[in-house]
């Protein structure tokens, strides 16, 4: 991108709304998470630690809020007057929502976080200078900063665990921001395989680590452009559309029973993760 090219072809580099003027073709990666199926077991979180070489910060770091869990299970206690252990809770698996109009992307002073043509919000570790503006502007607070140089810190990966590190994923040094990538290393492998075979990725060719580890299959991941994919069908069935900041649901035919929603849609980040509301006992 030279200056001349930047000035002459400016219209190619600017866009008002990623969904409108850069249609994702052939891939738009998206997720749907069924909160009714989620039992809060944290297997997804553990799988993510293993897959993405996440540093384990230990008890003290966790207490300081410096945990690096790209995928975290949030627990919200029911407030219906019952005491623990009778008190119920809801769980919410939370990871980067891969927003289409991501608040983090526009504010980065060096352009270290960008949108890929696949609709993933990418993070370039080498480019990051650690201003942390992206995290400050993230409504979900799903970006994690390397407060220490974890690869050289003791007990981040105990000696016997070093062999377990995933060679497909880099380890991140001190002072850079990181976050969920939708297991981009797996997507890349699947893309290459598909390319060698002269086809597009089929649904199910690629699974994210959290999806793979989920015992209740609460997490689905796939291509939102592909009408055959499970994610596409779920989004369609729930009448959730990517480029809406408020879903207009069909009220006529059981529309009120649809459970699909996206978190903070009204802020217009156009997140790529749809959640399916939990069916409460009281509602059944």
């Amino acid at each position: 991108m030279s200056v001349t090219s930047l000035l002459e072809n400016y219209s190619e580099f600017r866009h008002f709304h990623p969904v409108d003027d850069v249609p994702h073709n052939p891939y738009k990666w998206a997720m749907s998470i069924d909160l009714d199926a989620c039992s809060g077991c944290n297997a997804c979180s553990v799988a993510c630690y293993a897959e993405n070489n996440l540093p384990v910060v230990g008890r003290e770091g966790f207490a300081h809020g410096q945990a690096m869990h790209w995928m975290r299970i949030e627990r919200y206690w029911d407030e219906d007057g019952r005491e623990f252990p009778d008190q119920g809770a809801q769980f919410l698996p939370m990871m980067c929502q891969q927003c289409e109009a991501a608040p983090c992307e526009t504010v980065c002073p060096v352009g270290a976080t960008n949108h890929t043509p696949d609709g993933i919000n990418s993070q370039i570790y080498n480019r990051c200078i650690g201003s942390r503006y992206c995290s400050a502007n993230c409504p979900y607070k799903v970006r994690y900063f390397n407060w220490y140089d974890y690869p050289t810190t003791d007990n981040v990966w105990p000696a016997e665990m070093n062999q377990q590190l995933n060679p497909d994923v880099t380890v991140r040094g001190k002072g850079v921001m990181e976050k969920c990538t939708f297991c981009i290393q797996r997507v890349t492998v699947a893309k290459n395989n598909a390319k060698n075979e002269g086809r597009l990725i089929h649904d199910g060719d690629v699974q994210t680590a959290c999806q793979q580890a989920c015992p209740t299959s609460a997490i689905s991941f796939g291509n939102l452009v592909d009408p055959e994919s499970k994610v596409y069908k779920q989004w369609k069935a729930q009448q959730v559309e990517l480029d809406k900041d408020a879903q207009i649901k069909d009220k006529e035919e059981g529309g009120s029973e649809l459970r699909g929603y996206r978190i903070f849609e009204e802020l217009r980040p156009y997140p790529s993760v749809m959640y399916l509301e939990r069916v409460r006992e009281s509602a059944v």
Binding site: Q66, P103, V107, C108, I129, G130, Y133, F145, V176
Partner: protein, 460 residues
């Protein structure tokens, strides 16, 4: 309560100001020593943080910004009043600014330099800071021009370079005086180089005036835009408590406010340390105090506007942040900030305190305490009660490393400022002469027409 004497000899002005370069009171060395110690603390903290990582400053998710950003805004803000005094009042021909504008302009430059350091201290990978510059490179990678942080970097750099230029150009005739009157030594060599061969010819004065005026005109819009852009860092983001339309003017008012308060503090210190009692007179102090009071009221007004806009704005998230500021963990600081910023200035409303030095010294420090807290109260509470409920029970307090660097920055500023005042004339000799001359001319005119006796102004 005497103003500058109109019959003061020009040679005496030279002598008095040049004396400040030679033998200040002992307090000067005490201040210098404390400042150096404070800088030492900060350097130690920074070395530790640089080696180990930002974790030692006790940041966390979601508390990714802390005292560094707050103090950065504080120092940027402090710089604005120097420009107000030296450039805006220059255009308005307010002659009372003349004995004090030089040190105010120096304050601008040095507080900007201090602010710039905080950008570096704040970064996770400060060794890659040049990525934020639009420098030509083989990969043709540019910074992100959409980011308010990038505008910030550019605005501050422009403001800093213009301020240095303005400070320097305004000093040239005085540097020539120093060159001509100092004993031989390294200083004289320095002044010889810096005075650029100034001889005080007609042509030189004419060019000098035009240059000075041009830079002054260039600097004024910058002063307004810089803090508006700093405000954009927050106003352009989406977070509750930051996404507020009135932030740019609010920030500019706050900047002028803390800057004026700092001018009062420094006025009192310089006046004593460098024995400037005859030039930094109480009537001048009274004028700055009145100016500060007026700006304090503007700031209070904008502050209340902000609260009202949030309160009646039907944005529940923003409103929750405001409520949390009032009653949450930050409440003691928030209330202190409001009292220091809006109630304490009323002391300056009373005539008897407008020239009361001990009271004013305390008041000016309290005002700046309030303004520093204001910046912190803008930055921090949004993180502890943002949009996302999961983050609400994480309270994170800055560690001693953060406090150490913030504390040290005051030492750094004081060090730069005090060394400047010792090496360069901090009272503008040529402009004081002009001021005295114009005043004596005016008095003569009045005497000639016989109006002076009638108006009862013949006190001198």
């Amino acid at each position: 309560m005497n103003d500058i004497r109109e019959d003061i000899a020009w040679a005496k002005i030279n002598k008095d100001v040049l004396k400040s370069l030679e033998n200040p009171r002992k307090l000067f060395w005490v201040i210098l020593l404390i400042a150096i110690a404070a800088v030492g603390v900060a350097v130690g903290c920074e070395v530790y943080q640089y080696t180990v990582g930002l974790g030692v400053a006790n940041f966390s998710n979601p508390h990714v910004w802390g005292l560094y950003i707050a103090t950065f805004i504080f120092w940027i803000g402090m710089s604005h009043s120097g420009t107000l005094l030296s450039a805006i009042l220059h255009l308005m021909h307010a002659d009372w600014r003349k004995p004090i504008y030089r040190f105010a302009e120096a304050m601008t430059t040095f507080s900007l330099m201090t602010a710039g350091l905080f950008v570096a201290v704040h970064l996770g990978r400060v060794w890659q800071i040049y990525y934020a510059l639009p420098y030509p490179n083989g990969r043709q990678v540019w910074p992100n021009f959409q980011s308010p942080l990038l505008w910030d970097a550019m605005a501050i750099f422009t403001y800093l370079s213009s301020s240095i230029l303005f400070l320097y150009v305004g000093m040239i005739p005085d540097l020539a005086i120093c060159r001509d009157n100092m004993n031989p030594g390294w200083r004289r060599k320095l002044y010889t180089v810096l005075a650029l061969g100034w001889e005080g010819t007609d042509r030189q004065w004419r060019n000098f005036r035009v240059t000075y005026l041009t830079i002054a005109c260039f600097l004024i819009p910058l002063a307004v835009s810089v803090h508006s852009i700093v405000a954009s860092d927050f106003a352009m983001s989406q977070q509750p408590g930051w996404h507020i339309t009135s932030f740019p003017p609010y920030f500019v008012a706050g900047a002028l406010y803390s800057g004026c308060a700092a001018i009062i503090t420094l006025f009192i210190i310089l006046r004593y340390v460098f024995k400037f009692e005859e030039y930094m007179t109480l009537p001048i102090l009274k004028k700055i105090v009145r100016l500060t009071f007026a700006i304090a009221m503007v700031w209070t007004y904008l502050n209340l506007i902000e609260y009202a806009a949030v309160w009646y704005g039907h944005d529940q998230a923003s409103k929750d942040v405001l409520i949390q500021k009032m009653v949450g963990p930050y409440a003691p600081f928030w209330w202190t900030m409001n009292i220091c910023g809006s109630v304490v200035p009323f002391i300056m409303f009373f005539k008897r305190f407008q020239t009361h030095i001990p009271v004013l010294f305390a008041v000016s420090l309290l005002l700046n305490l309030g303004m520093w807290l204001e910046r912190w109260m803008i930055v921090a509470p949004t993180f502890s009660h943002g949009y996302y409920p999961w983050t609400w029970d994480h309270d994170q307090w800055p560690s001693l490393v953060q406090w150490g660097i913030v504390f040290g920055s005051f030492g750094w500023f004081t060090l730069l400022f005090m060394v400047f005042c010792k090496v360069f004339p901090s009272v503008s000799m040529y402009e004081v002469k002009e001021m005295v001359y114009h005043r004596s001319q005016a008095t003569k005119k009045l005497e000639a027409t016989g109006k002076l006796a009638a108006s009862g102004k013949g006190a001198h």
